[in-house]
Every structure is written in C-alpha cells, then in structure tokens.
C-alpha cells in the first residue's frame, strides 16, 4: 500500500481489489441494515458506501466482476439483507441508479463512474502538459501517437 492505493500488482487481477471489497464489508454491520429505515440506508449507501471505492476507481479500471461484486453488496444492503441472507430486490438496480429527475433514486453506477474518472486522466494528458506526473509517465513509457 502506498498513499492508500495498492502498490505494484495488476489491477486486472481480482486479488488486487480485495482491500477495497474488505473495506466495504467492514462498514456494513448487521445492525445497520436491520435498524435503519430505507431512507437511512439510501443515505448511507449514497454518501458512504458508493464513495469508498472512488479513490481506487479513479486510478484503475475495475474488472466487470469486481463492479458487480460491489454492486451486489450494495443491493443486498439496500433491501435489508445480511451477508448470509438475501432479501427480495423489489426494484431493479438500473432504475435505482437513474437520477431522481427520470424516476430513480440517484445512486451512482460504478462502471460508468469509473470510466468518467479515468477519462479525466486522458484529458489532463492533453491539457496539463507541465505536470510532473506527465513527465514521469512520458519518460517511462515514451511519447507516441501524436501526443
């Protein structure tokens, strides 16, 4: 670990994401899903749980199975389930993830957010030409493809 991110390692491997999943699970205790109302759980979900992996997602592209693992933890929590006990998910996750203006609850979708976060680095590559990080990257990997 270095500055909160796994150091070295391969982000395409599932093992690489274990710390992220672990942190998420450690935030969920049974009383939270049992004693909070739907409203409370939605708030917790939106403000804490779906923000926990954001730092890792802003540097690495998460494999699809990691995204679905995280989302299934969130879904199970929202509908009041526990780790060993599922509950009926009455509304599908896609609808929950739509913004409130189009009839959802405005929970963030991790796959799309991951892409949007990574795109920022591409944008910075073009705009922020003087950054130290860019110099490090170009001296390590070289400049090619016109930029």
């Amino acid at each position: 670990m270095y500055l909160g991110l796994p150091f070295g390692g391969d982000a395409r491997r599932l093992r690489f994401w274990d710390p992220v999943i672990e942190r998420l699970k450690s935030r969920l205790s049974e009383w939270k899903s049992r004693n909070l109302s739907y409203g409370g759980r939605l708030i917790l979900l939106k403000s804490v749980l779906s923000s926990l992996p954001v730092y890792a997602l802003s540097f690495f592209r998460a494999p699809a199975s990691i995204i679905s693992t995280i989302e299934s933890i969130l879904i199970n929590f929202f509908w009041g389930g526990r780790e060993d006990h599922r509950k009926i998910a009455w509304v599908d996750w896609n609808s929950i993830c739509m913004s409130k203006g189009v009839g959802g609850l405005g929970v963030r979708r991790l796959q799309e957010f991951n892409i949007a976060l990574l795109g920022k680095w591409c944008w910075r590559c073009l705009v922020d030409r003087e950054g130290l990080w860019l110099k490090v990257l170009t001296s390590r990997y070289g400049v090619s493809g016109g930029d």
């Binding site: 109302s37 009839g103 979708r109 799309e112």
Partner: protein
C-alpha cells in the same frame, strides 16, 4: 484520397488566427472542459432510453426520505402486497385476500388505496377534513393527480395537498402492516387523527416558526398555512 477530401471538409469552416493559442476543447461542454460529473451524466444518458415511468409524486421537501421511498415503490407497484408476493412465489395463491377481510378481494395496491372499505374510507375522511371534494379515480397514479391538482390552486396549496397525500399513504401502509403482523386494528377515526398529527409534526420539523398548535390544525389546516 478519401481522407484528403474528408479533412478538407472538416477544415472548410476553420479560420486560423495568429494571436490565439491552441487549446483543447471538450466538445460535450466546451466552456468548462472535462468535468467528471458531466461525463458521467453523458454516459448515463445512453443508458436511460428505456425509462418507463417518471413522476415527482414521491418527492416533497417536508417529508422524511423513508416515506418518499415508500411512495416511490408504490408508484412502481413494488410494495410487498399479497398479489405481488404471489407473483414472486413467496406465498400461495389462496392466501392473497385483503387483510381487512372485506369480501373476496385480492390485496393489490389499487384495492388498498382506493377500493378497500377501511383504507379507501380513510382517504375520503382526509378529504372531508381539509375540505376537498372530488370523484375518486380507479388507479393510484390518477388518485394522486386528482387529489393534488384537482382543486387547481397555487403552489403552496398544492404543496400542502401533496404532503397530506403522502402522509395518508404512509399511515395507511403502516396500519396495513400493523394489522397483518401485530394483529391490532384501528378504525378510520384514530387513523385520521394519526394523519393529522403526523402531518403537523412534519410541518413543524421543517418550519421552525410554525406557530399553530394541535387545536387550530385540527379545525382548519388551510388557515394555519395562510392559504385559506
């Protein structure tokens, strides 16, 4: 050769200026450059082509979030009513009668809110309390629009009716669960009291300087809100 033609077409409208520096523009919103939130919205927009159902009915700023989510589920017909549980194979076909015991009626959301003698009557009583009279439609969504919009009125009045509607639904659903799981039954009169007290609490919680007590609220809610 095709590429040359293409780049000529692209460059026809471009004029170069000596004084301006070259910059990158992010086309989706050229003013601010790349913004993660904006790109996320853009990616989500591609997903949203199949949204079926939009309503602002669940959302009201004076109402607790759990109530909003409850109504959000109602409008999608995702309450765990008995007919929905049968459809998902949780309970068997012969146990889906309404909890009130009002004849041989299956428990659906339309039945609970509009046709059921106890709960339907509750919503009628609420109308009498606030002095709104309208014909009841056959479906929940229409019921909402009828209740909130039928009397026309300006925004504060609609906002108040919206709050009362949400409150009525919330009390109704809790009573249904009480009857089913705790075996207690209240008649419409205490339920109406419950609606009055709950709505007053919600209003007081958000408006610190709401000066009216229970008595005045009981009698004439519109006067309390200054929209009589």
């Amino acid at each position: 050769m095709g590429l040359v033609v293409e780049i000529r077409n692209l460059l026809t409208n471009v004029t170069l200026q000596d004084t301006e520096l070259d910059v990158w523009l992010w086309q989706p919103n050229s003013g601010d450059g790349y913004i993660i939130h904006g790109v996320y919205q853009m990616l989500m927009r591609q997903e949203m082509h199949n949204h079926d159902f939009v309503s602002d009915a669940p959302w009201h700023k004076s109402v607790p979030l759990k109530v909003s989510i409850c109504v959000w589920r109602l409008l999608r017909n995702r309450w765990p009513t008995k007919d929905n549980l049968v459809r998902r194979g949780v309970i068997t076909n012969d146990t889906q009668l309404c909890v009130i015991g009002c004849g041989k009626k299956n428990e659906t959301i339309d039945h609970l809110i509009i046709h059921c003698p106890i709960f339907g009557d509750l919503l009628q009583q609420i109308k009498t309390w606030i002095g709104v009279f309208s014909v009841d439609p056959q479906q929940v969504m229409d019921h909402y629009y009828q209740f909130v919009y039928s009397s026309g009125g300006y925004t504060p009045r609609r906002s108040f009716l919206h709050l009362i509607w949400l409150c009525g639904i919330w009390v109704l659903w809790n009573e249904r669960n009480q009857r089913l799981f705790a075996n207690t039954a209240r008649t419409t009169v205490p339920l109406l009291e419950k609606v009055k007290i709950t709505s007053l609490k919600w209003l007081k919680a958000k408006n610190v300087c709401f000066p009216f007590g229970y008595h005045m609220w009981w009698q004439r809610p519109f006067v309390c809100l200054g929209i009589g």
